[in-house]
């Protein structure tokens, strides 16, 4: 093989690549934030006394978890306008990823809720806390800590899914990589640089989350 690597035409475009990865991170953060709030509601609904709420929660989870994220993205962006709801591409992608994330986060939080021992709820009841305060001061803080490792895995996964936004021309890293690819034909170099950026970013997220886990996850008493 005598391929001559030439990274110069790609590195000239570094502002584009950086803005691409920046937008990807932003999309992930916003979607995960929305997805987490939704997921938390679904997680509580999945354990609600009302059987109606419970089946609603499980339906929500099973529909969204059994759809490929790309299908959700394309459906929302190309399908919804037919139904009279046009969203710009970024909003449309955020909605898609948030919905998708909500199902995974619901599972993460549901596991976290199951990990809170009933004895701690009873200890809160015994000192006279109302159930709302038990949730706020006991169940939620413990749930978040126990859910953190699973949350981190999903965070990385969802961040990588932002590359699918390229299919609806959201200008994130994969979109720019494809653009530079077609302009420079430095195929290997472009995708090597893009891969490297993804890896560095994911690894940085892993490190941050691991540091948080170290501080927050509870040792077994």
């Amino acid at each position: 093989m005598n391929y001559h690597f030439n990274f110069a035409p790609i590195l000239e475009q570094w502002p584009l690549l950086l803005s691409g990865i920046g937008l990807g991170l932003l999309l992930a953060l916003v979607s995960i934030a929305i997805g987490s709030v939704l997921g938390l509601v679904v997680a509580f609904a999945s354990r609600a006394p009302s059987p109606w709420l419970r089946s609603l929660a499980f339906t929500w989870i099973s529909i969204l978890r059994n759809l490929p994220i790309l299908v959700i993205v394309l459906f929302l962006f190309f399908g919804m306008p037919q139904l009279g709801l046009s969203l710009d591409k970024i909003t449309s992608f955020v909605v898609a990823l948030s919905l998708y994330a909500s199902a995974y986060m619901a599972e993460v939080f549901r596991g976290g809720l199951l990990s809170v021992p009933q004895g701690l709820v009873e200890a809160g009841q015994a000192i006279g806390l109302t159930s709302l305060r038990i949730k706020r001061y006991i169940v939620l803080p413990i749930m978040f800590r126990n859910a953190l490792p699973a949350f981190g895995n999903n965070f990385i996964s969802l961040f990588k899914d932002t590359s699918l936004a390229a299919t609806i021309a959201v200008p994130e890293l994969t979109f720019y990589a494809r653009k530079i690819n077609s302009e420079t034909f430095r195929v290997i170099e472009v995708w090597l640089v893009a891969s490297l950026l993804y890896i560095v970013c994911c690894y940085a997220i892993t490190l941050v989350l691991r540091a948080m886990e170290k501080r927050l996850v509870l040792e077994k008493a």
Binding site: Q125, A126, I127, G128, Y137, L218
Partner: protein, 254 residues
């Protein structure tokens, strides 16, 4: 004088299984009552009815003269609202077999949580009171430790401080030493004993027969969801009347 705890004709079912079949007993102010009996006799369930951790199906529980958990509406027995249940639960303090300290909080915060959120105490005042009780159970030096950094005996002593700092009318102990390593049992029993000597009203479910004999004013022996025998410890332990208690004491270690 109004008893601190009064239980009248208490019945409790788990599904079809009746676990309490008509319980009557009282606890006077300053009295220490031990409930003994074999596993499955209903003693823990009875204790948990006293702070509404269990629902019951018939009869009354009165704490300080107030009927808890239920009221009559047009002749129907109805469970009271959640806020009322929470308020009534705070009239009792409970110490659990598994300690159940909040693992994400320091020993101090375990004690102050109820003081600030239930009693509405300002934080500085809550800390002062928590420090007093942590000192009282010998845990002041470790007030900033998390439960995972404490031994079982230490955790249980913090749990006792957490319950008693709320100034309950009565303290309920649910097999408070059963989950401890043998060498840790003594320190917790000592703490309970000194609180008893100060006049704290207590109901203890226990397997520690010697402790029940030495500390209690009254012992209640339960058998199959009923009280088979109750009275002063000297009489129950030295001259048990019912054959079942005689048999139970023979198999219990002192």
């Amino acid at each position: 004088m109004t008893p601190i705890v009064e239980v009248r004709d208490l019945h409790k079912r788990f599904g079809e299984l009746e676990v309490l079949k008509g319980i009557d007993f009282t606890v006077a102010e300053g009295e220490v009552v031990s409930i003994i009996g074999a596993s499955g006799s209903g003693k823990t369930t009875l204790l948990r009815c006293l702070n509404l951790l269990e629902e019951f199906h018939r009869g009354d529980v009165l704490i300080g003269g107030e009927a808890i958990g239920y009221h009559l509406r047009r002749g129907q027995r109805v469970r009271i609202g959640e806020r009322e249940v929470a308020r009534q639960r705070a009239m009792t303090g409970m110490v659990f077999q598994a300690f159940n300290l909040f693992p994400h909080m320091s020993a101090l915060d375990n004690v102050t949580l109820g003081l600030t959120k239930v009693r509405g105490m300002p934080r500085p005042q809550a800390i002062e009171l928590a420090d007093h009780w942590l000192d009282r159970v010998g845990m002041l030096e470790r007030r900033d430790h998390r439960p995972s950094q404490l031994s079982g005996g230490q955790q249980q002593r913090v749990a006792i401080a957490r319950a008693i700092a709320m100034s309950p009318k009565v303290m309920l102990f649910d097999e408070a030493t059963s989950a401890l390593d043998p060498e840790r049992v003594g320190e917790v029993l000592e703490t309970i004993r000194s609180l008893a000597q100060e006049g704290m009203t207590m109901v203890l479910v226990t397997h520690e027969m010697r402790f029940a004999r030495d500390v209690s004013d009254k012992v209640v022996f339960m058998e199959d969801g009923r009280i088979a025998e109750q009275g002063p410890p000297q009489r129950l332990f030295l001259n048990p009347e019912s054959p079942r208690l005689q048999a139970f004491l023979k198999t219990s270690s002192f």
